[in-house]
C-alpha cells in the first residue's frame, strides 16, 4: 500500500470527469477491486453474493457497479493485474495477513456477541482477493470486452510504464506509489462519487525541485512497501536532506544510517519488471447478456443487485455539444 507521507509531497488537483472524455486509463486492478469489495460488502448482505457452495463473489457486484463510471464518462479502462509478489514485499504482505487474521478473530467475537454494526465493519476489512475473486473478475472483464494486462510484478509499475510510453493517458489507482513509478498523470478516487483527484508527476518534481531518483530516495527514507523508513524522517526532512546531500546514499552516510537492499528498492521503482504484451483496443463492445448470465446464473448473484449496473453499462451516455442542435 502507498505511503501516506507521499501525499504531502504530491502535486494534486481536482479534475472533472467531463474533461477526461476519450482517455484511456490503466487501472491498478487489485487496488480498484479492493476498494469496491470493501464498499460492496459494507452495503450488501452476504447472501446476495455467496454461491450455494459458499464461494464469495462480491467482486462481481463491484465490477458491475464500478465499470459504468468509466463508460459513462467515455473513458476506456485497461485493467492491469499484479503478477508475482515482489519478494521484498513479503514483510508487507505478511503484516496485512496478520492484520486480517486479527480482524477475523474480532469478527468472530462480534458475531457471537450479535453486534451487527461491528460485524459489518469488520466484514469489509477481512475481504481478501481470493483466487476465485481474481479469476471471476477476469472472466467477467473479458465478457465485457475490457482489456486486461498481466504485469510480471507490480500492476502499478506496469500501468505507470504504459503511461510513460504514452500507450495510456492515465494511471488509475489510490496508491501514491504511482508517483515513484514515474506515472506522468495519475487519477485517484475513480471509485468514489464526485471528481477524481489528479496527481501530476512533473509538477510534483518541480514543486520540490527534485529529480525522479531523488523523489524515490525521499520515499525510501520515509519508508515504502519494501522498507521501514528512517525514524524521524518525514516529507520535509527527506526533501531537505536530499537537497543538501544529493542522493539516498549520501543522506544515509551523513546520518550514519543503513537501509537493506536500497539499490534493489530504487530499481523496483525506477526500472520495474514490465511486459510489452498488451493491446489497447479502439472501442469496447461488451456482451451484456453473456456477462449477466455469468454473474447471475453461473455465480448465483442476486439479479437485483446487478440490474442497475448492467443497465448503466448498456445505456452509457455521452455529453453532446450545442452545435449538434444549431
Amino acid at each position: 500500500m502507498g505511503n501516506a507521507d507521499l501525499r504531502s509531497l504530491a502535486a494534486l488537483s481536482d479534475v472533472s470527469f467531463d474533461d477526461l472524455g476519450g482517455s484511456v486509463v490503466a487501472v491498478d486492478a487489485h487496488n480498484w477491486l479492493y476498494r469496491y469489495l470493501t464498499t460492496t460488502v459494507k452495503f450488501t448482505s452476504e447472501s446476495k453474493y455467496t454461491t450455494s457452495d459458499g464461494e464469495e463473489v462480491a467482486n462481481l457486484i463491484g465490477v458491475v457497479q464500478g465499470l459504468p463510471k468509466f463508460f459513462e464518462h467515455d473513458l476506456t479502462p485497461v485493467f492491469v493485474f499484479d503478477g508475482a509478489v515482489t519478494d521484498l514485499k513479503d514483510d508487507e504482505v505478511e503484516k496485512r495477513r496478520e492484520q486480517r487474521e486479527k480482524y477475523e478473530s474480532e469478527l468472530e467475537a462480534a458475531r457471537e456477541a450479535g453486534d451487527s454494526t461491528r460485524v459489518a465493519k469488520l466484514d469489509s476489512r477481512t475481504q481478501r482477493l481470493t483466487d476465485t475473486i481474481v479469476d471471476t473478475t477476469r472472466d467477467l472483464l473479458e465478457l465485457l470486452d475490457v482489456p486486461i494486462v498481466d504485469a510480471p510484478a507490480e500492476g502499478e509499475g506496469q500501468a505507470s510504464v504504459m503511461a510513460r510510453r504514452g500507450d495510456v493517458d492515465y494511471v488509475g489507482t489510490e496508491d501514491y506509489d504511482a508517483l515513484l513509478f514515474g506515472a506522468p498523470m495519475t487519477l485517484r478516487q475513480i471509485t468514489s462519487k464526485g471528481d477524481p483527484e489528479l496527481m501530476d508527476f512533473a509538477a510534483t518534481l518541480e514543486r520540490h525541485d527534485l529529480s525522479w531518483e531523488q523523489l524515490v530516495d525521499a520515499a525510501i527514507l520515509m519508508g515504502t512497501d519494501f522498507n521501514e523508513g528512517i525514524s524521524g524522517i518525514g516529507p520535509k526532512t527527506a526533501v531537505k536532506d536530499l537537497h543538501e546531500h544529493g542522493d539516498l546514499y549520501a543522506v544515509l552516510e551523513a546520518r550514519g544510517e543503513h537501509i537493506d537492499h536500497a539499490d534493489r528498492i530504487r530499481d523496483l521503482f525506477l526500472d520495474p519488471a514490465v511486459t510489452d504484451d498488451y493491446e489497447i483496443p479502439d472501442s469496447i463492445e461488451p456482451d451484456i447478456d453473456a456477462a449477466r448470465a455469468f454473474v447471475t446464473e453461473q455465480w448465483e448473484v442476486d439479479a437485483d443487485e446487478v440490474a442497475r449496473g448492467f443497465e448503466r453499462i448498456d445505456d452509457s451516455v455521452v455529453q453532446t455539444g450545442l452545435d449538434r442542435w444549431a
Binding site: 470527469f17 451516455v317 455521452v318 450545442l322
Partner: protein
C-alpha cells in the same frame, strides 16, 4: 462612447450569470441596454443575457463592443457594498474601462473582442414541454441529485401532468416529483433528458432562489431556462446540451 452608473448588485448579478460558464466575454453596448452571449469552451452550456438601459441609474452609449475578463470585473464589483453605485466610463482611445466606486478608481484593461471565442447562434428548438418553476425548487433538485450522482435527468410526464427529477448513483437514488400545483405553470408534453450536474450546478448558482424560471424541455434535447433579475430589467437564458446514449 459608454458612460453608465449601475447598482453594484445589478452589476454583480449580471457578471455572475455569465462567469459560471466562461472567463471572458464580449459585451455589446446597445442604445437600449447591454447584451452578452457566450458558450463554454466545450460548447455544452450557453448563456444569453440582456440588461435594459432602465436597469441603470444612468446609461449613455452610441453603441460599441468591448471584451472583458469577467473574474477581474467581478473582483472590482465585489469591492462595492450591495447598494453602492458603480460608475463605468469607457475610454475609446486607450481601450480601458474606468470604474469608480465611492472614490475608488480602477482602470481595467479591456480584451480585444476578436480574441474572444466567437458567440454562438442560439439554436431554434421546438421543445415539447414548458414548466415554470421557482428558483428554490431547481436548487433543491440540483443539491439532492448532487449527493448521489454526476448526472441529473429532468422530465415531464404528460399523462400525469408532472415534472420530475431523477438521479441514480452507484448505490443511492434521488427522485423528486412536482405536480401542477407545486409549479407556477405547466404546459405538458413528454420530455426526458439527462444533463451534467457540473454545468447545472453552476447555472443554479446564478439563478435567484425567488426567481420564476421558465424551463423548456424535450426528449434527449437541450434544456432552456429563462429567468429575470434586476426587477425584471435583466433577462437570462441558459441553454444546456444533454448527455445522450452513445452509438
Amino acid at each position: 462612447m459608454f458612460n453608465a452608473i449601475v447598482s453594484a448588485d445589478t452589476l454583480q448579478a449580471t457578471l455572475d450569470s455569465v462567469s459560471v460558464l466562461v472567463d471572458e466575454c464580449k459585451i455589446h453596448l446597445e442604445e437600449d441596454g447591454l447584451e452578452i452571449r457566450a458558450v463554454d469552451p466545450a460548447n455544452v452550456g450557453m448563456v444569453d443575457l440582456r440588461l435594459d438601459a432602465a436597469a441603470f441609474e444612468s446609461y449613455e452609449t452610441d453603441g460599441g463592443l468591448i471584451g472583458v475578463n469577467l473574474s477581474r470585473l467581478e473582483d472590482i464589483a465585489g469591492m462595492a457594498d450591495a447598494g453602492q453605485l458603480v460608475h463605468l466610463d469607457l475610454d475609446e482611445e486607450t481601450r480601458k474601462l474606468h470604474i469608480s466606486i465611492d472614490g475608488l478608481e480602477y482602470t481595467l484593461a479591456l480584451i480585444d473582442p476578436d480574441s474572444i471565442r466567437q458567440e454562438p447562434d442560439l439554436p431554434d428548438l421546438d421543445l415539447s414541454a414548458n414548466i415554470v418553476i421557482e428558483g428554490k425548487d431547481i436548487d433543491r433538485s440540483v443539491t439532492a441529485a448532487d449527493m448521489v450522482s454526476d448526472h441529473i435527468a429532468l422530465g415531464v410526464d404528460a399523462t400525469e401532468e408532472l415534472f420530475y427529477v431523477d438521479a441514480e448513483g452507484d448505490t443511492d437514488d434521488v427522485h423528486l416529483e412536482l405536480t401542477r400545483d407545486d409549479l407556477i405553470d405547466l404546459t405538458p408534453g413528454d420530455a426526458h433528458s439527462l444533463f451534467s450536474l457540473d454545468y447545472l450546478k453552476n447555472m443554479n448558482k446564478a439563478i435567484p432562489k425567488d426567481a420564476e424560471v421558465e424551463m423548456e424541455l424535450g426528449e434527449e434535447f437541450p434544456v432552456k431556462m429563462h429567468f429575470s433579475f434586476a426587477e425584471g430589467q435583466g433577462r437570462v437564458t441558459y441553454m444546456l446540451a444533454p448527455r445522450i446514449q452513445s452509438e
